[in-house]
């Protein structure tokens, strides 16, 4: 859950990149890290296995600057995509404010996308959330490859809620900031006032 400090006029929010293994979650935040001016980012933390696969999470703190007098800080996390790490994914979703679901567009990864989406729904439900309650944006990644399914098919299979969606080629940066901007806006507009 977001943390709003009225005294210091600061808003802290947590965004989680979710999706199947090797889908491009880490690539998204690596691109953001590379392209962000040093004064707006903290140190990127990557807890990887020896083969560079995410073991627990990646973390990138971003200071986005001021909006209507509030300093905004976003903490970006990725979950490990491999099926084996279900328990870790659940932990990382705690306190989430917004989710980017990074789907792999390749034909042979559709089943993995579906499995990952099902795990997201179940984990959110265990934490007391519904998909409808949380800002979620879909990213159709790897659109530069040849063996990909159509966007209509991805939409039909994964985005049954008609949530915002973006095409991307994360390693080239295409669609990376667009997706982050979209979820940022949804998170900011969903913040409730009236805190004591």
């Amino acid at each position: 859950m977001s943390f709003i400090n009225y005294q210091t006029k600061e808003i802290n929010c947590k965004i989680v990149y979710y999706g199947p293994g090797l889908g491009g979650k880490t690539t998204n935040i690596q691109f953001i890290y590379q392209k962000t001016s040093p004064e707006f980012k903290g140190k990127m933390v990557a807890l990887n296995a020896e083969n560079e696969r995410t073991l627990f999470f990646d973390f990138l703190p971003l200071d986005l600057g001021d909006i209507r007098g509030f300093k905004t800080r976003f903490h970006l996390y990725t979950v490990p995509g491999q099926v084996f790490y279900e328990a870790s994914r659940k932990l990382i979703l705690r306190g989430v404010d917004g989710i980017i679901f990074v789907a792999d567009s390749q034909v042979e990864r559709m089943e993995a996308n579906l499995e990952s989406l099902k795990s997201l729904e179940e984990n959110l439900s265990e934490l007391g959330y519904k998909v409808e309650d949380i800002p979620i944006v879909f990213q159709w990644n790897k659109r530069d490859l040849v063996n990909i399914v159509s966007i209509e098919e991805l939409r039909r299979n994964l985005n049954k809620w008609s949530l915002p969606e973006f095409s991307s080629v994360a390693f080239k940066g295409q669609g990376v900031f667009d997706t982050l901007k979209a979820v940022t806006k949804l998170v900011l507009v969903s913040l409730k006032a009236g805190l004591n």
Partner: protein, 156 residues
């Protein structure tokens, strides 16, 4: 809240603990309060501490943990390390983290840190709570406002 915590840490931290760094963290890794002269101790430490603590807490469930068990987590070489103590404030879970260096008596330090955590739980602080207001903080947020946030961020 910040003032209450500052007063608490300024007055309750004992002589043995005063050279160490303290972080009070929410379950999601956000830093609620920091007392440290070390600029390196920042948000990434918060994310790692809560990740560690939550993973350790999930592991403890395999031990048939009961309500009265209080688990602490430490990673240390003896004279330097981290000591993480869960604390309950306003019925919410937080983590008090002591980051220590050049400690000659880690056992005494840990005992005093646990006392500090117990005292912290007694403190009545006004932690922000949602009151179920239906009013949104940013009504009619425009795309241009979000674009402006990102315009300064991107170094393309």
């Amino acid at each position: 809240m910040q003032q209450s915590l500052k007063t608490f840490f300024d007055t309750k931290v004992t002589k043995n603990l005063k050279d160490h760094s303290f972080l009070l963290l929410r379950e999601d890794g956000h830093i609620i309060y920091k007392k440290s002269h070390d600029a390196k101790i920042s948000h990434e430490v918060g994310a790692l501490v809560t990740g560690l603590s939550q993973a350790a807490s999930a592991l403890c469930k395999f031990l048939d943990k009961d309500e009265s068990d209080l688990f602490r987590f430490s990673s240390e070489s003896g004279e330097k390390g981290f000591y993480i103590i869960p604390v309950c404030l306003n019925k919410n879970q937080y983590y008090l983290t002591v980051i220590f260096k050049f400690e000659l008596n880690p056992s005494l330090m840990k005992m005093e840190a646990r006392n500090l955590a117990r005292n912290l739980e007694q403190l009545e602080i006004n932690v922000e709570q949602r009151k179920g207001s239906s009013k949104f903080l940013f009504d009619n947020l425009k795309d241009e406002e979000v674009d402006r946030l990102f315009a300064s961020l991107e170094n393309l």
